[in-house]
Amino acid sequence: MRIKRILCFTLLIMIVLQTSLSVFANTPYPNYFIAAGSWSLPTPAAYEPTKIIDFDKPENGKLNGPTDIFIKKNKEKGDTIYIADSGNNRIVVLDSNWNFKYAISDGITDNNDPAKLNNPQGVFVDDNDTVLVADTGNKRIVEFTKYGSFRYQYKAPSDLILGENFADEYKPIKVVKDYRDYIYVINEGDGKGVLMLSPGGDFKSYYGANKVRLSVWESITRQLWSRESRKGNIVNLPYSFNNIMVGNDGYVYVTTTGLNSQQVRKLNSAGTDVLFKNDKDFSDRSITFSLGVGNRQTFVDVTVDNDNNMTIIDNAACRIYQYDEIGRNLFAFGSRGNGNGQFLEPSSIDTDSQGRLLVLDRTSATITVFNKTKYAQTVHTANKLYSEAKYDLSFPEWDKVIQQDSYYIHALQAKGLTYMRKEDYSKAMDEFYKAEDSDDYSIAFEQQRRIFIKDYFAIIATSVIIASVLLLIYASIKSKNKKKYGIKSPKKNFLTPISSFFKWIIHVAIHPIDGFEGIRYENQGKMRDAFIIMFLYTVSNIAAAYSTSFIYRGGMPLDFVDWGSIIQISLIPWIVGIIVNYGVTTIVYGEGRFRDVFIGGAFCHVPLLLTSLPIALISNFFTEKERGFYSLANNAVMLWVVILIYFCIKGIHGFHPLKAFFVTLLTAVGCVAVALLFVIVYGMANQFIDFIIQFVKELVYLG
C-alpha cells in the first residue's frame, strides 16, 4: 500500500562545526601497501585528513550512533550528503560544504505517522533524487522524495522461499537500487544472500549468496553422524552480508561479516564475484595477530571512486584499504584513536565527486574528510593510463611513483610489462626481479631465452657438435691405448683421495645392497666419511639455495636465504632419523650398531648431495612452464633417497626385506612422533616455568 504524505521539515541552514586540519603534518596513522605475499611496505600518505565534521549541539544536528553515509554526486551543483542518524531516528542531509541542510523525519512524535523512522541504518539516493531508507526498527524500506516528503513504504516481502515467519525476522539494514530500479536489501543476519526486490517491491530472488563453508573436520564428523543427529545439530548457515553499494560500472559491491575470505565481493548481474577467481582473504596479515586469537577484521563498508578503485573499511583495526579495478592493493592506512583523522568505530565510507573519502564514525559521531595526496593522484593517474593501455603515457607517471616510493611494486610491475610490450625483455626482467614477480619474470625470461637461442643457435650447435666429436675422438684414443697398453695404474696426486671418496660414495648410492652390507659387515664405513658427507650435503644445500633460479624460488629474494635454517634443516632429520631408527631396531633385534646407523644414515643423503646443486643450477635455464622437469628431477632424487633408506635399514640390520619395509615405516612414524613430542614437551615446559614464575611473583608482590 502506498501512502503519500507531505513531511514537514526544517529548512534551516545551520553551520556545522568543521575543524580544518593542517595540511602540512604527516598523518596520524601508518601508510603502506600490501604487496604480493602479504608484505607490508611503506608509502607516503595516500590520503590525509583535512576536516572533521562534528555537530556540537542536537539542534545543529548532533549525530547519535550514525551508521550510514551516502553521497549523491553532482560535480556541477555540488554533492549532497545523506547520513543515517540511527540514534536520532532521522536522515541528516548536508550540502557540498558539509553544512547542515535539513533532516528527514526529524522531530516526528506521532508514532502512527508513516514518515517516522525508527533506527534507520541505511540510506540510498537514486538518479531521480529519491531517498530510500532502510528503516530497520520498523522493518521496512521507506521512500522519500528529494524534498524529504514521505512517498512509499515497502514492508517485508513475502514469498514461499522466504518462509512464513520472514516478516518477523525481517531487519533491513542497507538498501540500494540498480540501474533497472531493482532494489537490493541487506537483511541483517540473513545467510541466504541479498534480497533482490522488483521496482514494485516484490521479492525476486536472493542475490550473491554465500556458499556453506565447512571445515575439513566438520565435513568428516558430519559423515559420521546419523540422520537423526544431523537433524538436531545447528545448521551452519553461510555468513551474512553487512553492506552493499552499486558502482558506476554497474557492479554491485558487498561486504560480508565473519568470513575468512571473500569478505568483499564485486558481483555481476548473476551474483557472481568477478574480482577474484580464488578465495581472496582481504584481512591484513601484518596486523591480524594484534586482534587476538579468533578475532578477525570486519569490513563494514565499501565505496568505489570514478576510476573504479575500491576502498573498504574495517572497524576492528580501524583501517582503510584501497584496491584497484583488478584487485591489487594500492594503499592501506588508518588507526584507532581519539586524534583527528583516527577512528573509534568507523561505520561507513563513501567517495565524493572530487575523489575525497568521507568516513563516518559511529562512536564519535563525526565525519572525517580525507583528501587525496599528490602521491595518490600520481598512482591513480598512472594506473588509469596503464589500464587504458596507454603504456607509454603511464611510464613517466610510474617513474614519478617510484621516485616517491622505491618499494611500490605495482609501478615496477607496470614498467616491466611495458618493457615487455616493447620487447625489451632484459629490462623487463630487471623490473620484475625488483618487484619479486616470478610469474611475469618467467614470461620475459622465456622470450629472452628464445631470442638468445635464435641469435646464438649456430654457435651453440657448432659448439655441441665440436664437443661431441672431440669427446668421441678422446674416447676412441683412450680405448685404443687401453687395448694396446692395457689398463694403466692411475697416477696419484692430491685429487686422488677426493676422487676415490666420491667414487666410493657413488658406489654405495648406486649399489646400496652391497654398499650398506659392506658398511655393516666389512667395516667399510668410516665415521669420517659420514661427517664429510653431511658437511658437503649442508654446503651443497646452501649453495643450491643461492643458485636456484628466481622463478623457482617463487620470486623470493636472496635476502631470505637463512644459513642457520638450512643447516638445521639439513642435519636435524638425519640426527632424529638415526636416533629413532637405532631405537626401533634395538627393539626388533636389528644387528646394526649405532655407528653403522650413523654412517648409513649419512650415506642415504648422497643422492641429495650429488644432485641438489646441479638441479638448482639447471633451474636457471627453465621457465615456469617447465616446472614439471624440475619437480620430476627432485622427485626422482627423493625416490632414490627413500630406496637408499630402505636398503640401508635392510643391509645394516640384516633384516628380511619385508621386515625392513615395516621397520622403515616404523622409523618414519617414530620421527613424526618425536617431532610431536618435542612440540608438546617444549610447550609444557614453557607453561610450567611460566607457572612457577607466576606463583613466586604472586608471593612476592601480592603475598
Binding site: 562545526l17 568543521q18 575543524t19 586540519l21 593542517s22 595540511v23 602540512f24 603534518a25 604527516n26 598523518t27 596513522y29 601508518p30 603502506y32 608484505w39 607490508s40 611496505l41 608509502t43 607516503p44 600518505a45 585528513p49 572533521i52 562534528d54 556540537d56 548532533k62 591484513d284 596486523i287 594484534s290 588507526s335 581519539n338 586524534g339 583527528n340 583523522g341 583516527q342 562512536t363 564519535s364 559521531a365 563525526t366 595526496t373 599528490k374 616517491q404 616510493d405 622505491s406 618499494y407 629474494p557 635476502d559 631470505f560 636465504v561 637463512d562 644459513w563 642457520g564 643447516i567 607453561q687 611460566d690 614464575i693 607466576q694 613466586v696 611473583k697 604472586e698 612476592v700 608482590y701
Partner: protein, 824 residues
C-alpha cells in the same frame, strides 16, 4: 669402617643439599628479585618544610589580603575559597576560578561535584586500592569525607555538629562512602576525625598557606601561594605531603587548576609546546569527543608505559615545561620550575565535569601507576609505586597585563626563552647566550650506511646502502652542483650497521669499508672542511650487551624486575614482535663506559657527534644495581652531555628537550608540527622561537615527509635548516631490514631538491641564524600564508597556497616564500 662410610654418605648428602640450596637461591635471585627493596637516590631532590605562618585566617574573614608587592596583590576569601590576584597598574583582577553566571550557579546547585572541583585550589589524584585512581577537587574530597564521617558519627553520636566548611553542606555522591566505610586500610570508624582546611598567612613576605587534613584517607596536604614581582608562585613543599594509611596513596596534584580559565567563545587561546607548539583557541569549533589532554613533559616515561601493540602516530612529545594563556590584554606564562620532570601538561576543553571552561596547568605526578604481568598467560594488573619519589612542586605564573597590547604566543615563547636561560644557568650551570659565533652548516645530510638484514638471523648479513667511500661520492656530486657547506651525519657506521650493538660498536662495519676507510673518510672531511658527524647511540641496545656488560645488572628495568624492552614499529603500524630491544642504564653508562667511549670516538678523529636518546627519551630505572628516578636520569643525561660537549667540537641532540638543548650546539629532527590531538587547533613555531639564535636546529628529513615541498617551506617558515636522509644505493635494498621506513632516499633522486634547498638557505636563511624571531603570524586570514619576523627587521613570508597571493604590495608565488629585508 662403617662409621667412615656413614660419614661419607652424610657429607655427600650435605654437599648435594647445599649445592641445591645455592642453586635455588641463585634462581630465586635471578628471576624473582623484588623491587621493593630498591632505594632510589633522592638526595638531590629538594624537600622543604611548609613555611612558618604569621597567623591563621579566620573562617569569617572576607577577601583577606595575604600578600602584596609593587605589582600584584593577592587576596583570599575563606568561605568561597577564592584567590584573587590584582594587577596594581591596571586594576585587572585574575581569579583562581572564573565567575559563574546565575544560571550556571543555579545548575551547579544540583551538580555539586562540578562546583566543588571548580572552586578547589587543588585537584588531587589518589587511590585507595591501586586499581581505581581518581582526580578530584580537594573541596570535593573534603566534602566527601566529612559527609562520610557525618554519616558514621550521626549513627554514633546524633548530636554531632555540622561542618564548618562551606562545601560540606553538599550531599555526598554514592562513591565517597566507599572510602570511609569499606576498605580494610581505613582507620577504625571510632577514630575518624573531621577533615579540615586551615588557611594561614605565611610569615615575612606573606602569602597564602592552605593545609588540608583528611584523616579518613590519611592525607595531609600543604599548598602555598605567594607573589614574586609579577609572578604568582604555587608551591607544594614535599614535606607538606603526608600519608599515614597504607594503601591510600596520593598520586598527583594540580595547583590552581582554574586560574586563567576561559569560556567557549572567548577571545584568546592556550599555547603549549606540543611538538613545535600548538594553540588551543577558545573560540574555535570544538569536537565533542575529546575533552582533556595530559602529556608528560619531556615525553612519556617508557618504564611505566602501557603494553601496547600499536605505535601512536598522532602524538608528539613536549619539550619544555611551559604553558601560556593569551587573553585580550593579558598574558599568563606558567612554568613548572621544580619537579618539572614529573609534571604533565594539562589542557581541558569545556565539558570536563560539565564545566563550561577551558583550563590549563601542570599536573605533578607523585607516583606512577603501571601494569604488571606476573606471567605470559596472566592478565596484567594495575599497581602504583610504593613511595612518592618527588621533591618540592613549584609552578611560577608570570602575569603580564597591558590592556593596550595584543599579546601573542610569540610573547610567551620569548618569556620562555628568558626563563629557560635562567633555569639552565641555575640548575645545570650552563650560561647559554645569544651568540654570533656558532658554526652552522646550511643543510644536514643524514647518510644511511646500512643495517642488518632481518630475515637471516643466524648469520646476519648487513645491507650496504652507502659505503664510506660512497659518502665521498655523494658529496662530490653535490659539490658539482655548488652544494658545499653541508653537515654529513653518518647513520649506522658501527659494527653491523644501524642496529648494531651499542656496547660493541667501535669497529666500523667491515662491509662499509672498515676502520681504515672510516678514518680515511673522517680525514677527507676535515680536509674538505665539512662537518662530518656520527650518529652515536650510547644506550639503546638492539641486542644483548657485550664486552662484559651484564644484561641483568646494566639495563633498565620496569617495576616488577622485568626488563624495560621496546620494540620497533613495522610499516603496517604495529610493533614488530620479533624485536626486543633494551636500554642500557644511563648511570651505568656514565660510570663505566662514557670516558672510554669518548676516547675511542676521538681516536677516529671525529669532531662532531649526534647523540641519540638524550634529547627525546627520559625514563625511570627500577634496576637493582643502578636505580634511577626520572629526575636523576635527567641529571645524568646533562652530565653525559656536558662531558661530550667538553670533548667534541659539535654536539647535537635529537628532537630538543630543553635540558639537552641547554648543552647541545644543534638540534636535529626538531618537530615542525603539532600532534593530531583534537584539542590542539593550530601549529606554531613556539619552540623554534625559544631556540632560534641560541643554537641551530634542523628539520626532520624532508624526503621522508608526505609533502616534501611543503615540508621544505615549513622549515623556512620555522627558521629550521633543512635535512635530508640519503643513501648511495637504491632504497628498495632496505626492504627486508628493520629500517624499511625509509622509502625514498636515493641521492640522485633528491639532488635537485637539495641544491634548491641549499641555495635558499645560503641566500635567505643563514644571515638570520643569530637573530631572534620576534613575531610570527598568519599574513592573510583566509589563506595559508605565514610571516616570520626577525629581530633585524627581516620578514619571511611563506605561501603554502598553490597560487600567487598578494600581501599588501608584496607578491608571493604559490608554494614559495619571499624574504623582505628591512630598509630595502
Amino acid at each position: 669402617m662403617a662409621k667412615t662410610k656413614t660419614m661419607k654418605k652424610l657429607i655427600k648428602t650435605v654437599v648435594v643439599l647445599v649445592a641445591l640450596g645455592v642453586f635455588g637461591f641463585i634462581v630465586f635471585k635471578l628471576f624473582f628479585a623484588s623491587d621493593k627493596n630498591i632505594i632510589f637516590n633522592t638526595a638531590s631532590l629538594s624537600k622543604s618544610d611548609p613555611s612558618p605562618v604569621e597567623r591563621a585566617i579566620d573562617k569569617t574573614e572576607k577577601m583577606t589580603v595575604v600578600c602584596e608587592n609593587d605589582k600584584l596583590k593577592m587576596q583570599y576569601d575563606y568561605e568561597s575559597d577564592l584567590i584573587v590576584v590584582t594587577d596594581k597598574a591596571t586594576g585587572t583582577t585574575l581569579r583562581s576560578y572564573p565567575e559563574l553566571t546565575e544560571l550556571e550557579k543555579a545548575n551547579n546547585e544540583k551538580g555539586k561535584e562540578a562546583f566543588a572541583t571548580l572552586t578547589s585550589p587543588l585537584i588531587v589524584g589518589y587511590t585507595t586500592t591501586s586499581k581505581d585512581i581518581q582526580d578530584r577537587g580537594i573541596n570535593q574530597i573534603l566534602a566527601d569525607n566529612n559527609e562520610a564521617k557525618n554519616a558514621t558519627s550521626t549513627a554514633q553520636k546524633p548530636t554531632s555538629t555540622s561542618s564548618a566548611l562551606p562545601l560540606t553542606s553538599t550531599t555526598a555522591s554514592a562513591t565517597p562512602k566507599v572510602y570511609a566505610t569499606s576498605s580494610r586500610t581505613m582507620v577504625p570508624k571510632a577514630t575518624i576525625i573531621q577533615s579540615e582546611k586551615i588557611a594561614n598567612i605565611i610569615k615575612n613576605n606573606g602569602g597564602l598557606q592552605l593545609v588540608y587534613k583528611i584523616p579518613s584517607l590519611g592525607f595531609e596536604i600543604t599548598a602555598e601561594f605567594t607573589l614574586e614581582d609579577n609572578v604568582v608562585v604555587s608551591f607544594i613543599p614535599r614535606n607538606g605531603l603526608k600519608e599515614t594509611i597504607g594503601e591510600c596513596r596520593l598520586m598527583s596534584i594540580i595547583a590552581l587548576p582554574y586560574f586563567g580559565a576561559a569560556r567557549q567563545g572567548d577571545k584568546g587561546y592556550f599555547v603549549s609546546p606540543d611538538g613545535s607548539g600548538a594553540l588551543t583557541k577558545f573560540d574555535a569549533p570544538r569536537v565533542s569527543r575529546v575533552i582533556s589532554y595530559e602529556k608528560q613533559i619531556y615525553g612519556p616515561d617508557m618504564t611505566f608505559a602501557d603494553i601496547t601493540l600499536f605505535p601512536d602516530y598522532s602524538e608528539l612529545n613536549i619539550t619544555m615545561p611551559v604553558v601560556g594563556t593569551i587573553k585580550p590584554g593579558i598574558m599568563l606564562s606558567s612554568f613548572a620550575v621544580e619537579s618539572e620532570e614529573k609534571a604533565f601538561l594539562v589542557l581541558n576543553n569545556p565539558g570536563d565535569r560539565s564545566l563550561p571552561f577551558y583550563r590549563s596547568g601542570f599536573k605533578f605526578l607523585l607516583r606512577n601507576d603501571f601494569y604488571i604481568r606476573l606471567s605470559k598467560a596472566a592478565d596484567a594488573f594495575r599497581q602504583t609505586e610504593n613511595k612518592m619519589a618527588v621533591g618540592n612542586l613549584k609552578v611560577k605564573t608570570y602575569i603580564d597585563v597591558d590592556t593596550k597590547k595584543d599579546f601573542t604566543y610569540v610573547n610567551v615563547a620569548l618569556k620562555a626563552k628568558e626563563v629557560l636561560l635562567q633555569k639552565w644557568k641555575d640548575k645545570y650551570g650552563i650560561d647559554k647566550k645569544m651568540s654570533d659565533e656558532y658554526n652552522t652548516s646550511y643543510i644536514n645530510l643524514k647518510v644511511f650506511l646500512g643495517a642488518e638484514n632481518r630475515y637471516t638471523s643466524t648469520l646476519a648479513s648487513v645491507k650496504v646502502m652507502t659505503s664510506f667511500d660512497e659518502v665521498q661520492q655523494i658529496y662530490s656530486k653535490l659539490k658539482d652542483n655548488g652544494v658545499k657547506n653541508v653537515r654529513i651525519s653518518l647513520l649506522g657506521w658501527t659494527k653491523k650497521g644501524y642496529f648494531g650493538n651499542a656496547t660493541d660498536k667501535f669497529n666500523p662495519e667491515a662491509s662499509f669499508g672498515g676502520t681504515s676507510e672510516f678514518i680515511k673518510l673522517v680525514t677527507w672531511a676535515k680536509n674538505e672542511g665539512i662537518e662530518l658527524s656520527i650518529e652515536n647511540n650510547d644506550i639503546e641496545l638492539y641486542a644483548k650487551p657485550k664486552n662484559g656488560i651484564s644484561l641483568k645488572s646494566a639495563t633498565v628495568r620496569r617495576p616488577g624486575t622485568e626488563y624495560m624492552q621496546f620494540k620497533y614499529p613495522s610499516a603496517a603500524g604495529i610493533f614488530r614482535q620479533s624485536t626486543d630491544f633494551y636500554i642500557l642504564d644511563p648511570l651505568y653508562f656514565k660510570k663505566n663506559l662514557l670516558d672510554n667511549n669518548i676516547i675511542k670516538i676521538k681516536d677516529f678523529g671525529v669532531e662532531s657527534i649526534d647523540l641519540t636518546t638524550y634529547g627525546d627519551k627520559l625514563f625511570t630505572d627500577y634496576s637493582m644495581s643502578n636505580p634511577l628516578l626520572r629526575q636523576e636520569s635527567l641529571k645524568t643525561y646533562v652530565d653525559i652531555l656536558k662531558k661530550y660537549d667538553s670533548s667534541f667540537k659539535n654536539v647535537s641532540v635529537y628532537y630538543g628537550n630543553d635540558y639537552a638543548a641547554s648543552v647541545a650546539d644543534k638540534i636535529l629532527d626538531i618537530p615542525l608540527n603539532k600532534s593530531y590531538n583534537a584539542i590542539l587547533d593550530e601549529a606554531v613555531p613556539f619552540i623554534q622561537i625559544v631556540y632560534h639564535g641560541l643554537l641551530s636546529y634542523y628539520s626532520e628529513p624532508i624526503n621522508s615527509d608526505d609533502h616534501p615541498q611543503t615540508a621544505f617551506l615549513k622549515s623556512i617558515e620555522y627558521g629550521a635548516f633543512p635535512s635530508y636522509e640519503l643513501t648511495y644505493r637504491k632504497t628498495d635494498e632496505l626492504k627486508y631490514t628493520f629500517y624499511d621506513k625509509l622509502f625514498s632516499s636515493d641521492y640522485l633522486t633528491w639532488l635537485d631538491d637539495i641544491t634548491k634547498a641549499y641555495n635558499s638557505v645560503q641566500n635567505d636563511l643563514i644571515d638570520l641564524k643569530n637573530q631572534t624571531i620576534i613575531n610570527h603570524y598568519k599574513a592573510l586570514d583566509d589563506k595559508n600564508v605565514f610571516c616570520t619576523e626577525y629581530s633585524n627587521g627581516t620578514k619571511i613570508y611563506v605561501n603554502y597556497e598553490e597560487t600567487t597571493v598578494n600581501v599588501k604590495d608584496l607578491k608571493i608565488e604559490g608554494l614559495s616564500y619571499l624574504k623582505v629585508v628591512e630598509g630595502r
